[in-house]
């Protein structure tokens, strides 16, 4: 059974990565499993300077999901490189850092700082956070701005592959995906959270201090699956699928619609050892469904037109 995946120059032991913002700096989960078993470790979004984040309440549970408005609280890129990265098994498992900045120029600076670290395998550019007033979101909704950020990060990241993380809160995600590919992105990851809100009828207040937030968890998986499917059909670079992945079947579904790898996000909050169990169960799930390698099923989704016999197809054309 071969669970290995080649992803924009990186070799992953398996296609299961952690999703930024749900896995801390990785070390938080080292009590619950061996971090080396992950396909890759994607850490919390880092900014140039530390950020305190939003006021509380920042999280709300929703049916089969949750809303968050954390506001990218993080210790800053420098402290991450000094205090956290050396403790991660970066020489055995690729560590991907997620970048957040408020201007194109700042994205470039951050990419320059992080891209020359030997322990950093790839950069993931967050142009899609819905919970900060400046940056993030506006880049993710405008093809020209998304392309400008991508070019700037590529220019400064040295030899490190650049992943651009896309927002689902757009009219057509394919437009942004193509713009980012043309600007030089090595990979795409999608989807970030869907914009949402919750209201408490008793207090007549929003349930999040930030009023609106981002919806994640199994509730959004069908939306994510559709967008990954759409994007995989129009770009040539590898796509990393995420959005509500909780089970091995979820992983295989995303690969069937064309994803190279996946990220597990909100499911890490259900049980801190869930991602490790999922990786352990993957080979068995593959053999149960008759899959020899992941390359074999990537994008192999059989749609009804594929299933029709040739005669039927001919009739259809007419």
């Amino acid at each position: 059974m071969d669970t290995r995946v080649e992803l924009g120059g990186l070799i992953l032991k398996n296609p299961v990565m952690s999703a930024s913002g749900t896995f801390g700096y990785g070390l938080e989960f080292s009590l619950y499993g061996d971090l080396q078993e992950l396909g890759a470790i994607v850490v919390k979004g880092l900014s140039l300077k530390p950020r305190a984040g939003n006021p509380v309440p920042r999280i709300v549970e929703t049916p089969c999901g949750m809303l968050n408005a954390i506001g990218l609280q993080n210790i800053g890129a420098e402290r991450f490189l000094r205090d956290k990265l050396p403790l991660l098994p970066w020489d055995r498992t690729p560590v991907v850092v997620n970048l957040y900045a408020q201007s194109v120029q700042e994205f470039g600076q951050l990419a320059g700082l992080l891209g020359r670290e030997p322990g950093v395998a790839a950069l993931e550019v967050n142009i899609s956070c819905p919970n900060v007033r400046h940056g993030g979101f506006q880049f993710g909704q405008d093809p020209a701005a998304a392309a400008a950020v991508t070019r700037e990060v590529k220019k400064n990241s040295g030899s490190r592959p650049v992943i651009v993380k896309l927002s689902p809160n757009v009219t057509d995600v394919r437009t942004i995906a193509k713009a980012v590919q043309d600007a030089g992105a090595d990979m795409l990851s999608l989807i970030n959270t869907l914009g949402g809100m919750a209201v408490d009828v008793h207090s007549r207040k929003p349930r999040l201090a930030g009023i609106t937030g981002g919806l994640s968890g199994p509730a959004i998986k069908p939306v994510a699956l559709k967008m990954v499917y759409q994007v995989c059909r129009v770009v040539d670079i590898p796509v990393i699928g995420l959005g509500g992945i909780c089970t091995v079947d979820d992983v295989l579904e995303f690969i069937l619609v064309g994803a190279h790898a996946v990220q597990v996000g909100t499911a890490n909050f259900m049980r801190p050892d869930l991602i490790f169990d999922l990786i352990r169960d993957l080979p068995e799930a593959m053999s149960r469904t008759g899959i020899v390698s992941l390359d074999e099923i990537r994008g192999a989704l059989e749609t009804s037109s594929d299933r029709m016999d040739p005669l039927e197809k001919m009739q259809n054309i007419r």
């Binding site: 619950y32 984040g53 549970e61 089969c64 949750m66 801190p272 050892d273």
Partner: protein, 246 residues
């Protein structure tokens, strides 16, 4: 799950679980997630450890929402995934007198500790509660503990309780360590009097939590130097001087 018992009403549940292999300090907590929950509710639920013996791990739970309501109706021998002990508990200097201030469900983390403390005669307990005493595990605490309880049914009762808290804290301040757990308005009053009296106090706070391991950044609490610290890993017990309680 080993079993369940009710206290006073169906909304106050003592949950007995198979004892885990670890030891915990008072004030630490566990995360629970019944396997039957599937994807909904999504999050596990945090509960402070009420008591741990060789026979069982016991949690004292008030039914306040969907998660606790589902826990109450869990089948007697059903599987509940549990992990812990989590967070930082109370530092208990056994040689010094203790003043325990508990508000309502805030009694939970003190039950096992009081029952196993080598010098119960050095413990003073002031317990504030809204509902009848039959709901709370006060009677089972050792008789040598100096217990005092006050029920708050009216706004005047709250003012009285705040006055007694102030008095007890002020009188006790030079003698030992204060440990407090309860709802946020209660902890705010305790913190104010503690700071006024320059007492040594540890507060256990309750916040909305998703992961319990420091990753989701949902349970943060503001410190006096402006940091937002995760309650799950930096707390739930903090030095009273450290926090800004909002």
């Amino acid at each position: 799950m080993l079993g369940m018992a009710w206290a006073g009403s169906r909304d106050f549940v003592h949950l007995y679980l198979e004892p885990p292999g670890w030891e915990a300090s008072p004030g630490q907590f566990v995360m629970l997630r019944p396997s039957a929950w599937g994807f909904d509710p999504l999050w596990p639920r945090p509960f402070s450890i009420c008591e741990k013996t060789p026979e069982y791990l016991r949690l004292f739970i008030q039914v306040v929402g969907r998660g606790t309501s589902l826990l109450r109706s869990a089948a007697p021998d059903s599987e509940i995934v549990l992990w812990g002990p989590l967070g930082k508990g109370f530092r208990i200097p056994v040689q010094h007198p203790l003043l325990i201030l508990a508000g309502g469900m805030g009694i939970a983390p003190f039950v096992g500790m009081c029952k196993t403390h080598p010098h119960p005669e050095r413990i003073n307990l002031l317990f504030g509660h809204r509902l009848g005493l039959e709901h709370y595990p006060l009677d089972e605490l050792p008789g040598k503990i100096r217990k005092e309880s006050m029920r708050q049914s009216t706004p005047e009762d709250l003012v009285d309780f705040s006055g007694v808290l102030q008095e007890r804290i002020r009188d006790f301040a030079p003698r030992g360590e204060i440990l407090a757990c309860g709802p946020m308005p209660f902890l705010r009053v305790v913190q104010r009097h503690v700071l006024e009296s320059n007492a040594r106090a540890q507060l256990s706070v309750e916040t909305r939590m998703a992961c319990g391991v420091g990753a989701c950044l949902g349970c943060v609490i503001k410190t006096r130097n402006g940091e937002m610290l995760q309650t799950c890993v930096h707390g739930p017990v903090f030095d009273a001087r450290e926090l800004v309680l909002q």
